[in-house]
Point group: C2
Chain length 209, copies 2
């Protein structure tokens, strides 16, 4: 189990006293993480992403990581909105900033709740899509839909098409679409040859127009 606790009594107390929605803009209560860092999750809190991208994952019975979502742009995550026993949050970018709310007052603020519905809906859309991807029999299709998913979630428009704002290794893409690294590399090479994707100087994938 990778549940970890990060206790910071002072910070928690400050958050507890908040009841407006300005914590998303205030700098005081943000936790910052760098790419690759595991974000400690406290059962009593809800996290919301102010900046950057957070990978949410669990571990299968064979010890493999299973991608369950990518949280960015105000998306919430946390122990109370999952039923998975193992729930990992990892910073995917160098600029991850999070705010945390105690569970007890998470739904107290009507304006926050109003904004929450579209974000929760986005997370639901994501997991449904990941479920669809994971049930495709052929690696080729799983990779295709995974790239479409990443394009939608973390794509940035560039002149040639859409650039994934996060750099992924072939190993990571292979893990995310339940394939071997070798097969994934072969499929990515095929997509490159077919002019569907390219890779820029910083090793980010571009889905070509």
């Amino acid at each position: 189990m990778r549940w970890l606790l990060r206790e910071n009594a002072l910070q928690l107390q400050s958050i507890l006293s908040l009841d407006s929605d300005d914590e998303m803009t205030s700098d005081r209560f943000k936790d910052r993480y760098y790419k690759g860092e595991l974000i400690p999750i406290n059962y009593q809190e809800i996290y919301q992403v102010c900046q950057g991208v957070v990978k949410l994952s669990t571990i299968s019975d064979t010890g493999e990581e299973v991608l369950v979502g990518l949280a960015s742009s105000s998306m919430p995550f946390g122990a109370s909105i999952t039923s998975l026993n193992i729930y990992q949050a990892t910073a995917l970018t160098n600029n991850v900033e999070l705010v945390r709310f105690p569970l007890t007052n998470w739904l107290n603020c009507p304006s926050r709740v109003q904004k929450l519905v579209p974000k929760l809906t986005s997370r639901l859309r994501q997991t449904e899509l990941l479920l669809y991807i994971s049930d495709q029999r052929r690696v080729k299709h799983r990779l295709h839909y995974l790239l479409q998913f990443l394009k939608q979630e973390i794509g940035q428009p560039v002149p040639q098409g859409t650039r994934l704002s996060v750099r992924f290794t072939h190993e990571e893409l292979a893990s995310a679409c339940c394939a071997t690294r070798v097969t994934t590399t072969r499929q990515l090479n095929k997509l490159r040859e077919q002019g569907m994707i390219s890779v820029d100087d910083e090793h980010h994938i571009i889905l070509l127009n």
Copy 2:
């Protein structure tokens, strides 16, 4: 594509004029479905389950049905809260009653939104769990977690344990956990022999204490 439209101008007009939350209790605007019926989905509406259980599914590239959720007790579903192109809703019980809201005024009512967050959260929990299940390599584990999922979502306490309120065929369980019917039957027989489950006179599975 199984998107179907059900047009009923009069009914739609009546719903459009609603802005309170009493439509969940009013009998006038409920759609009723029987077990096995495909629920027509209108892109412009959101559905909420008043009674019964609705199976939400999509179709994989090989034409197989992929379970993406079970909607019951006020859970919402509809085209605007999915990104799947194929999205089927099927009545799983004989007593399905739904209310429909036009997308345009779905989030207008603060009390409805407040109630919506826990329901959306439940749907998110479900899809994450289904994702976890589908990524288990062994059928035995997939079936085990599927039964736990069904216990949690549609279980009713009985003296011996928890009875699934919906009757499933082995074929349906096999489809839901991506296994063959033969393997699923074998695994279910094993669970029976081990005293983990039993089946009652109405062919409903009981997960024994």
